[in-house]
């Protein structure tokens, strides 16, 4: 079986017969095949426990598949050594439902973290973080602690941190799960804008209104198995 969702674009991500099981015979993902083109925005849907988060964790190498191959940018990350994981993650931005911001650091420091770990000089880190915060409309809050920001603002900071390093791939795991409908659209617009600039984006969500509104390719997971849906 060939990867589902073969598009006319050049593929950035390909998964071949990927399975993940934590206990013998109990699969979190089973025989997943898919292809995601460069600059594509796709939605990953499915009920809780369907395997959405597991699939994303495999993509940013938080876990290794039990079987199969995951090719990102021509490299099989299923065989990646632990020491090579940081290099891969610098090419991937990740956004979570719970933001995952460092509360002891300022907004600007949180955004700059993705650049600091690469060894970029502090001045450059600050300058790029500021530009990124400007893009998400939070430059005036750069010296604040994340805890003083609203949920929507914190998620914008998380998106800024995920995008500041200009990743090829942006993974968002229920990025609007904690937000009201108005903020949800605000956040999704930022994510869609990243895709428009050429970043490949995978958004895991169970919010069908979002899927309908943005009318992009949908990969539906059910009990660890993948079925392509619309549009």
């Amino acid at each position: 079986m060939s990867p589902q969702g073969e598009t006319s674009r050049q593929a950035l991500v390909r998964m071949y017969h990927v399975s993940k099981s934590y206990l013998p015979g109990a699969y979190a993902l089973r025989d997943v095949n898919l292809s995601i083109g460069k600059g594509e925005l796709i939605f990953l849907t499915g009920p809780s426990g369907a395997g959405k988060t597991t699939l994303l964790r495999l993509l940013f190498a938080a876990e290794k598949p039990s079987e199969g191959s995951i090719i990102i940018g021509g490299r099989n990350i299923a065989r990646l050594s632990d020491s090579a994981v940081p290099t891969l993650r610098r090419r991937i931005g990740v956004v979570f439902q719970d933001f995952k911001l460092l509360q002891r650091r300022t907004v600007e420091e949180n955004v700059g973290l993705a650049l600091a770990v690469r060894g970029e000089p502090p001045r450059q880190v600050r300058s790029r973080a500021f530009r990124m915060l400007k893009q998400v409309g939070l430059q005036h809050r750069r010296h604040h602690a994340p805890v003083s920001l609203s949920g929507g603002e914190q998620q914008r900071v998380a998106i800024a941190r995920a995008l500041v390093g200009e990743p090829e791939l942006l993974l968002a795991d229920e990025p609007t799960g904690n937000l009201d409908p108005e903020l949800t659209l605000e956040i999704m617009d930022l994510i869609a804008a990243a895709a428009a600039r050429g970043t490949t984006v995978v958004v895991a969500t169970h919010d069908h209104s979002l899927v309908e509104r943005y009318a992009r390719r949908v990969l539906h997971l059910q009990a660890g198995e993948l079925a392509e849906a619309g549009p």
Partner: protein, 301 residues
Amino acid sequence: MTSLWRALYFVRTAIDGLRSNPVTSAVAVGTIATTLVVMGVFGLALKQMSGIVDRVGQDLTVSAYLAHRLDDEAVRELATRVSTVEGVASVEVVTRDEALRRFEGAAGDRAGLLDGLVENPLPASLEIALASEERTEAGIARLVEAIEGLPGIDEIGHGQEWVDTYGRVLDGLRGVAAALGLVFALAALLIVSNTIRLAVYARRDEIEILALVGASRGFIGTPFLLEGVLQGTAGSLLALAVLWAGFELVTALLGATLAFLIGHGDPVFFDAPEIFAFVLAGAGLGCVGSLSAVGSAWRAA
């Protein structure tokens, strides 16, 4: 520039880590300090005892008793010959008259016992001082072997047995101190690594986020190692302060008794190289103790 910035980042993060976890940091510092105080007390006791052996060693001479038949000229020749033996620092000739005078001096009130003697019964002797590196059982044995067959030497005597016994006791104490030191060091390592593990656990979110944005193992782990070094250094300085205060107190209260116990000379504290080694040991203890915690942190991330 990047390296400099990284170094500054690591130092800043390590200090932030210590500030944000004052209780666990204080426990780690206290643990290291307590361990080093106990080891330091042993070290200081051994240092005083080593001093006694050194001083006894300085006074240690080998006496070669000479045959009565030797005249002064022959004695001088023999002394010259012995002084050329390897390991000999100096040779002093003690004539029969000098030996008698010394005996009378040592006998004190009972010197009158010698009045009945027609002739001085004491032999002339050579008092042979050894070079400091030769003041050992083996060194003395080599000297005895070299001179015992020389014509004119009747008997050889020295106080080596006492020194050897004392040296063996000292070696035994050093062994006990080393074993205890090892046990304490291992206990400290366990406690230090566990306290740092607590700090790591408290900051697991930070570690997870750093790993998420592509931080390397070194980037995540180095601040924790630095924290260990800082805690170890602080612990060793605290231990030194406690030891110094205790040393001053004990010497002030028991100065005369101590002077008697360790012979002539005052009790001495650690010298500069020993203090440096002490601080280094504390820093190393903290560093090694945090290594295992850092390994856990990385695996968790």
